[in-house]
Amino acid sequence: MGELADKLRYAMQDGTIRTEILGTAKLILEGCDGVIEYETEKIGLRCGRRAVWVEGQSLRLLCLEEDGAVITGHIEAVRFA
């Protein structure tokens, strides 16, 4: 049921990536389905065909789920590729 709800939500979002940045300390990303790279200065997340790169200092994956992730630390840049 949870998987079905995730798929429905993802379909309703039309495959979009939803990013929420709280100040420079927290980033909430919905629509990702995996980690590409995990370093303290750079975290890469795969979102379908795209990728989101978060750069900064002391970055940390606070939470990682099937379709979302929460990154904390000193965020300097967010790149969409």
Partner: protein, 415 residues
């Protein structure tokens, strides 16, 4: 709350090396929810619940990553360690069971109240008879026991057993007896209990018939209960009305008394000889003897010494039994010693006879030794209260028989 949950369920931290990104992706896709993800150099510290740790094995094989257990904490691991020591678990369980069992009894009893006319031992014995004592179950009906205690100790006006945990506090109140006051009802005179010379008169009610400095005989009416009221319009103020009351007065007079006391030159006294002492320790009511030998036969005296910790009496005490025997021993006094003792007896007699208000003014003491005893005689002049209540003495003929109880006066008016 989160920390409590983590501790109760137990957490394990795995150090993942190699393709850490793929490892994390597959772990999350298979439903594992990491509690914490930390980067440590090239490795990732993957923290999850202990029950999910085994699932990492398949992911490790699939991703060819190296996974090592870095840390484990929580209740499941501690409990498994405790299982290796069954004695510890058993002891803990027994201790908890014992504590729960002992919590069902009263282990301390205190008594509070002022001017209680009973000794503590009497109160405790009465409380035990009504079912409240150290070691009694907490299911005892203390309200009923309070009522029963008042019947056991009739001089109390109120008793209450207040319980708090395993402690019972017994609060007591004494009944206040009405002080004997002066009798106001009825009629009566004050007469002299013995002959004497009036020193002072303090009259509260009645007609005083004597003066200070006058002599009086034993039985003489000093204060009459008859009060006469005269006609205010009569120039001679002849009494026409009488009130009959109870006379009340204190009359101090100098009287002459003779007191005699004696003391034998030889007598017998009882001497106690200790035969032995036995001690026993009582722990929660269970007696543990501390003496190895049995108690010798004889008369016994018990004393109890409780242990007190920070003001609380513990259910732990030492009972000491002193065994002794009595023997009659003759005692001989010298004449001086016998005279001294006889004089002490004489002074006690004087205090009894004269009361609190009286005292000896002068006395002449003489000693006589006769028939193996010393006799002391005191001829003294005492100051004492000689007022004594007596029935009312009515006059033989009424002073004014036509007018007793009736007021007759001259009324002048016009017409």
């Amino acid at each position: 709350m989160k920390k409590i949950t983590h501790w109760v369920l137990g957490t394990a931290t795995a150090r993942v090396s190699g393709d850490t990104a793929r490892f994390m992706n597959i772990a999350v896709k298979t439903g594992l929810r990491p509690i914490r993800l930390q980067k440590d150099g090239k490795d990732v510290l993957f923290t999850l619940y202990s029950k999910d740790y085994k699932k990492l094995h398949k992911i490790k094989q699939r991703t060819h990553a190296r996974v090592k257990l870095a840390e484990k904490s929580g209740f499941p691991f501690r409990f498994r360690r405790m299982l290796r020591r069954p004695g510890l678990l058993l002891g803990t369980a027994l201790g908890v069971a014992l504590m729960l069992f002992l919590s069902g009894f009263y282990w301390e009893m205190t008594i509070s109240g002022e001017d209680i006319p009973y000794a503590e031992s009497e109160i405790l014995a009465a409380a035990k008879r009504v079912g409240v004592y150290i070691g009694a179950p907490r299911s005892t009906d203390t309200a009923l026991a309070s009522v029963a205690l008042l019947e056991e100790l009739p001089e109390l006006s109120w008793a209450s057993f207040n319980t708090e945990g395993c402690t019972v506090q017994l609060e007591l109140r004494t009944s206040v007896t009405k002080a004997e006051g002066a009798e106001h009802d009825g009629t009566g005179d004050i007469v002299a209990s013995r002959a004497g010379l009036i020193h002072s008169i303090t009259a509260q009610n009645g007609t005083v018939l004597v003066k200070v400095g006058s002599a009086c005989a034993a039985g003489q009416v000093l204060v009459s209960g008859i009060t006469q009221v005269g006609d205010p319009y009569d120039p001679e103020y002849n009494p026409v009305r009488c009130f009959y009351t109870r006379a009340r007065a204190e009359i101090l007079a100098e009287t002459q008394r003779t007191f005699t006391a004696s003391c034998p030159l030889s007598t017998e006294t009882v001497r106690e000889t200790d035969l032995g002492t036995q001690r026993a320790l009582y722990i929660l009511g269970v007696r543990v003897p501390l003496s190895l030998s049995g108690a010798p036969k004889g008369q016994t005296a018990y004393t109890r010494t409780p242990f007190v910790l920070q003001g609380h009496t513990l259910p732990l005490w030492v009972e000491t039994v002193r065994v002794y025997e009595e023997e009659t021993v003759p005692v001989t006094f010298t004449e001086e010693e016998a005279q001294r003792r006889a004089l002490e007896n004489l002074h006690q007699l004087q205090k009894l006879a004269l009361g609190e208000d009286g005292r000896v003014l002068t006395e002449n003491i003489t000693y006589q030794t006769k028939d193996g005893a010393v006799y002391v005689t005191s001829r003294c002049v005492c100051l004492e209260n000689i007022a004594q209540e007596a029935p009312l003495t009515l006059p033989e003929e009424p002073e004014n028989s036509e007018n007793i109880g009736v007021f007759v006066g001259n009324v002048q008016g016009n017409g």
